[in-house]
Every structure is written in C-alpha cells, then in structure tokens.
C-alpha cells in the first residue's frame, strides 16, 4: 500500500508535466486543425475537414514533401558513410581520438550558425566553392538557385552536420561486439566481408534501426537549414514540409491549416516508422538477440 502511495506521488509530477506540455498541446493542435483560426484573433470557427482537404489538394504541399525525400536519401547516404568511418575508427588506428573528435565536432555547432556559414560557402559570386570552380575553368554552379541542385546543396549541409553523430552511435555499438566472435570466425576462415555481414550487422541491428529512424524522422522534419539558407526559395523549390507549415501559419494567416499539416506529419512519421520497423527487423532483430544469448 505504502509503496503504491510513493509510486503515485513520484509519478504525479512527471505525468502532470507530460500532460501539460505534450498531451494537452497535441489534443489542442488536433482541435485547432478543424478550425479557421488566424493565429491572432480570439475567435475561431469550426470548419470540419476543410483544412485536411486543402492539405491533400495543394500541389505545394506535395512538392514540399517531395523535397523531404532528398533529405531522407541523404540520410541513408549519411548512415553508410558514418558506418564506414565507425568501422575504420574501431580498428587500431593512430590518433583515432583526434579523427573521432574532428568528425563529431560539426554536430556541436549551432544549426542556425551552420546555415549562415554555408550561405557563404554556397554563394554564387563570392563563395569559396564557386571561386575554386572558376579557377579550375568550370562554370560556377548555382548551388542555391537551381530548382534541383538547391535541395541537394541543403541536404548536404545536414549530411555534413549529422554524420559525426551517427558515427558515434555506430562506434558505441561496434565496441560492444565481443572480439572472440571475430577471432573464431577468422580461425574458421571467414573473409572480412563475411565477418561484416554475419557478425557486425546482426550485432548492431538495433542501432541501425535507431539510426534509420532518426534519418527518416529527421528527413521528414528537415527545417532549420532550408529556412535559414533559402526560406524555401526560389519559389517553392527548396520548401520542406516544415517550412511550409510555418508559411501557412505566418504568411497565409492560417493556423488551422498549419495545425492540420502538423497533424498529417505526425501521422506520416508514425506510419513510416511502423513500416520501417517491419522491414528492418524482419527476423534480423531476433537473430541479434539470439547472438547475445548464445
């Protein structure tokens, strides 16, 4: 009995905080998505499913969602690079702490600062990249103004920024793989590739899943870089789902629509994550667990 009282007493605070700052706002958001609130006036009218119809019939929303695919594709590339670095740094390498720190330090920098910095790097006339290209006799590339290149450029910034973070996660996982497994595999004559696919991957599959989840949800929520570097421009060419939400709220004075967009995003992330779990952990996860049990 006493234990239950203590449990309840200790849980009250976090649960209340959770309700105040997570559950209530989410429900409120859900309610708002059915109104035409303009964000400033105290009054709002109920408009039914109108906002959701607008979400699915506005071409710019789909264009923005398409642009998120660039970030997701980039996230997958980021995972490959990070795993590659992690495996190299997991071996006996001279000065590996220095390399580790160098690769990770990009994650520490404030993302707004990164955005501004790359604004200069990508500048058409005065950016170092284009000055270098011109010196080599190549035409300067419109990094931030070409409708396709702009997405690749901005996605590359997040690649640059988050690779270190992903790598550190992989590194931690790799270090927990018992070295006896590799040794016995080597005695049995397994090649490096066989060791990688049969020992390393199954052992770290949980972390791979985590990283892929971060990559997907991060890709769908890509925002800061695009917002700071181009504000979604030129036109809607680099607009992402989140920059569009901000735009709907503050430029079109339509908080209702932007609430509906946010809710659609929430659902989207849940669905995509569910599918991804099914695909990545197709038996692989259990195998990993079995490995530890054995």
């Amino acid at each position: 009995m006493q234990q239950k009282v203590i449990l309840a007493a200790f849980l009250t605070v976090p649960v209340l905080l959770l309700i105040m700052f997570l559950v209530y706002p989410t429900l409120r958001l859900f309610y708002m998505s059915f109104t035409d609130w303009d964000g400033a006036m105290p009054t709002k009218n109920f408009v039914g499913m109108d906002n959701y119809v607008t979400v699915f019939t506005t071409p710019e929303v789909w264009l923005s969602l398409r642009n998120n695919l660039y970030y997701i594709a980039n996230g997958i590339l980021q995972n490959i690079i990070a795993l590659f670095f992690a495996i190299i740094l997991d071996s006996k390498l001279k000065g590996k702490n220095f390399f580790k720190a160098t690769i990770f330090v990009t994650y520490v920098i404030n993302s707004a600062a990164v955005g501004y910095m790359f604004n200069y790097v990508y500048d058409f006339e005065k950016g170092p990249l284009n000055i270098f290209l011109t010196m080599m006799g190549v035409e300067p590339i419109p990094f931030l103004t070409h409708p396709i290149i702009v997405n690749v450029s901005i996605a590359c910034v997040s690649l640059w920024r988050y690779t270190g973070y992903t790598m550190v996660l992989y590194l931690a996982a790799l270090q927990s793989v018992p070295s006896e497994l590799y040794e016995s595999a080597m005695v049995d004559g397994a090649s490096a590739w066989q060791r990688f696919t049969n020992i390393t991957i199954p052992s770290i599959i949980r972390v791979v899943e985590l990283n892929l989840f971060l990559c997907l949800s991060g890709g769908l929520q890509a925002f800061t870089e695009a917002f700071i570097m181009t504000k979604g421009g030129p036109g809607y060419d680099s607009s992402t789902f989140l920059t569009y939400i901000i735009k709907a709220a503050f430029e079109f004075n339509s908080f209702g629509l932007s609430a509906a967009l946010s809710f659609a995003l929430l659902i989207l992330i849940l669905v995509v994550t569910y599918i991804q779990r099914k695909v990545v952990l197709r038996g692989g996860g259990d195998e990993g667990d079995a490995l530890y049990k054995a």
């Binding site: 400033a40 979604g232 030129p234 709907a248």
Partner: protein
C-alpha cells in the same frame, strides 16, 4: 520508515508547488480591474491638476537599430514634460510575428508598430485603440482601418516605390536619369558593362520582390488598387493585365541582363553593403532605403530617387505611394492616460523628425520634407497613387490560393515559364472564387 515519510512529504511538496504556481497566475487578472479603477480615480484628480499624468508604459518598436539611440532620446524629451511617466523600450527582430503572439494572448504593448499589410482588419481592430480623431490630419490612413472602417494607427510617414540610384556612378559613366523603359535598360547595361550591378533585386531575401505585387501594377495601370478588381474576375491574368505586365517587366530586366549575375542568390544585407560601397547602380525600392544607402562611399548628395520608367512614354510618371508602418496604441493599457499623452506627443511633435530619420515623406497634411532627394524627386513630376488597400474579397482569394507573390517572383527569376505560371494561377483563382 522515516525515509519513506520524508519522500512522501517531498513529493507532495513538489506537486503542491505546481498548483501554487498555477493558482498565482489565475489570480493575476483579478487585480487588473482594481488598477483600472485606480487609473480612473487618478483621471479625476488630473482634471483638477493638469500635467500630473503618471504610469508605466511599454513602447515596442520594430527598429532594433533605434533601441539605444532614437527611442531613448524621444523618451527623455517627453519626460521633461511628463516626468512621472516611465517608458520601457522593447524591440524585436521578428517583430510582426511576435506581435501576433501577443495579440492572441491579449497582451499588446502600450505603443506598438502596426503595418498595413501584416495584419487583417479584424486583427488591427481587436488589438489597438481607435485614433480616428487624430487620423483626419494624415494621409494614407486607409491602410490602418479596422473592419469597422475606423482608423487604428497613424502612419510614421509615406513611402514611394521608385528607383534609388547612385548619382556618383551615373555621373562617372555619363548617364542621364532615364525617362523611358529603353533608356532605363540602356543605363542598366552601361552600369553592368562597368562591372557593377545595374539594377539590384536582392531576390534571395524575397521581400524586396514584393514591390512587383504591391506597387508596380498600380503604376502601370495608372489607377489605385487595381488588384481589387481581379477579385471579381475568374481568370484575370491575361497579357493585358497590369499585374502580368508588372511581372513581365521583372522578366525583361532579367532577360536583358541588368540584374545581379544570379539574382536569386543575392541577399538583402550583402546587396545593401554593395550599394553603400558604390557597386550598385539602381535599386527598385522605397525611399526609406535612402538613409541606409548613405555610408562611407556615398554621401547624402550622392543618392537620388526617380520614378521607375515602366513604359516608353516619357510622360507617364505614376508612382505608387503608401504609408510606411504606423504607430498604434495597444488595447487594455494599464495607464491609458499616460498612453494617450505619450502617443499624441509622439505623433504631434516627432512626426517630421522621425520621417527624416527614417527617410520617409511626411504623412501629415501640410508638413514639408526638405531633404535634397525630395526636391530632386519632385522635379520629375511624379504622380503619386495612394491606395486604400486590399479588399477582404481579394485577401480571401489570395489566402485561399495560398499565393505567395515573392515566391512567384523568385520563380520568374529562376527562369520558370511565365505563361504556364499565369495559366496555373488563373486556374487556382477560378477555383478559389468558386467556393
């Protein structure tokens, strides 16, 4: 056992403190009526004894650069007359978004900066005090009307949208102020040939492109608020339409190559610096830019202002003119007497001074600006067009279409097909009107 009891006590204390926090907040509004009552009492006393206005005010402004200079100076001057009024200053960078948040929580500053295009009529009315009695003496107040057609802000000055140019550069290259579109483009090409930017757009920042939506259509059509008419048409955007012509003009500037090398990558701050350094010939903006254009390389006499020659007829000199931002009184002030006193003082005595400091033309009837650029600008015989602002019908359609004019202009500069863009817009426009 005692440990457990202590744990229970501590956790209850923690939970309790949460509720205490909430309780205090809920109690706060109850105090307000008391204060208002107190203010009302002081009001009675003041009638007997004038100039005993007292209270604490909050002045919020969008001019972050004036935070420690002009604003405190004004307050100091005001305090010589009204020593008992304490005024605090707040400036924000994302000013209008911040104000919308304050609006939704009914927490408007006593004096704030309103803007014609940033708020709806309903929002203005809900957030500010009616100043119609003062507004009679000012131009351009139509844009600060609420839904009830009363005026909720006084313009800080008027701004014409025309070409700010580098006189020094024009002299060096032997260029006359262009009177026709062909001359204008020739001038741009000449400046470009000298290795400078002919006509700056700062298109990356987006908002400098909004002139092609707000100002140029009216000047091309030669009448005010031409866009309001489009709200009554299903497919208004054909080649004769003034808005289409306005964007065609932008496209022409790009095709003739008088803009920046890659306009969409040119941002506002860098272009401003380039202009100040003398590397830009012309900038299609409002006259408010003039004080900011003056720097080390350009003196006051080196910056001029002329109407944009939008066609080849030298006698068409229409210039869209509109109020800059306005001063408004926030609703529900805790010291309404002091608020009113400061507001009338600010509007009455500082109007011309503020206009001069911010490069505006005075909006007060009969007030004259004496800056050199004004004299020069007037010598071109500009025909000012001051609109009354967008109608609700137009606003609704634009919001329904989710039309972002600046993104639209960026698309043109990025080389998208203008005909297809207008065809799409026509289709969306028709659909939005059908609802």
């Amino acid at each position: 056992m005692t440990k457990r009891l202590i744990a229970i006590a501590v956790s209850f204390a923690l939970v309790g403190s949460l509720f205490v926090g909430c309780g205090q907040k809920a109690a706060a509004p109850a105090e307000e009526p008391k204060k208002e009552a107190a203010a009302a009492e002081t009001k009675k006393e003041e009638k007997k004894e004038e100039k005993k206005v007292a209270g604490k005010l909050l002045w919020s402004s969008h001019r972050t650069d004036f935070q420690t200079t002009v604003l405190p100076e004004y307050i100091k001057e005001f305090n010589q007359q009204f020593p008992d009024v304490k005024i605090e200053i707040e400036t924000y960078k994302d000013y209008y978004d911040t104000m919308k948040v304050k609006m939704s929580s009914n927490d408007m500053p006593d004096i704030w900066t309103t803007a014609g295009d940033k708020f709806t009529r309903e929002q203005r009315q809900a957030a500010s005090v009616d100043v119609s009695d003062i507004a009679k003496d000012y131009q351009g107040t139509d844009l600060f009307q609420g839904a009830d057609n009363k005026v909720y802000g006084i313009p800080t000055g008027m701004s014409a949208t025309a070409v700010v140019y580098n006189k020094k550069l024009f002299k060096e290259l032997g260029i006359e102020v262009p009177k026709t579109l062909d001359e204008f483009i020739a001038a741009g090409k000449k400046i470009k040939a000298a290795g400078k930017v002919g006509l700056a757009t700062a298109a990356k920042a987006k908002w400098p492109l909004s002139n092609y939506w707000f100002a140029t259509p009216d000047t091309i059509a030669g009448e005010i608020d031409i866009k309001n008419k489009y709200a009554n048409e299903d497919e208004p955007f054909n080649p004769d339409n003034a808005l289409v012509k306005s964007y065609m003009l932008l496209k022409k500037f790009k095709d003739e190559g008088i803009l920046e090398k890659d306009p969409v990558s040119a941002d506002w701050e860098p272009m401003k610096k380039e202009f100040r350094a003398g590397n830009v010939g012309m900038f299609y903006l409002g006259n408010w830019f003039i004080p900011q254009a003056i720097g080390e390389a350009l003196k006051t006499e080196d910056v001029g202002f002329f109407p944009l020659p939008y066609d080849n007829d030298p006698n068409t000199n229409c210039v869209a003119m509109g109020p800059d931002v306005g001063w408004a009184m926030g609703k529900n002030s805790k010291a309404p007497e002091a608020q009113k006193a400061f507001y009338t003082w600010l509007v009455d005595t500082k109007h011309v001074d503020w206009a001069n400091k911010t490069g505006l033309l005075p909006a007060k009837n009969g007030a004259k600006a004496d800056a050199a650029w004004v004299t020069e600008f007037n010598s071109f015989n500009p025909k000012p067009l001051t609109g009354k602002g967008d109608t609700k019908e137009l606003n609704d359609i634009v919001n329904k279409v989710q039309f972002d004019n600046m993104a639209f202009a960026q698309d043109i500069l990025a080389g998208k097909d203008l005909n297809k863009m207008f065809a799409d817009l026509n289709a969306k426009w028709k659909k939005a009107r059908g609802k």
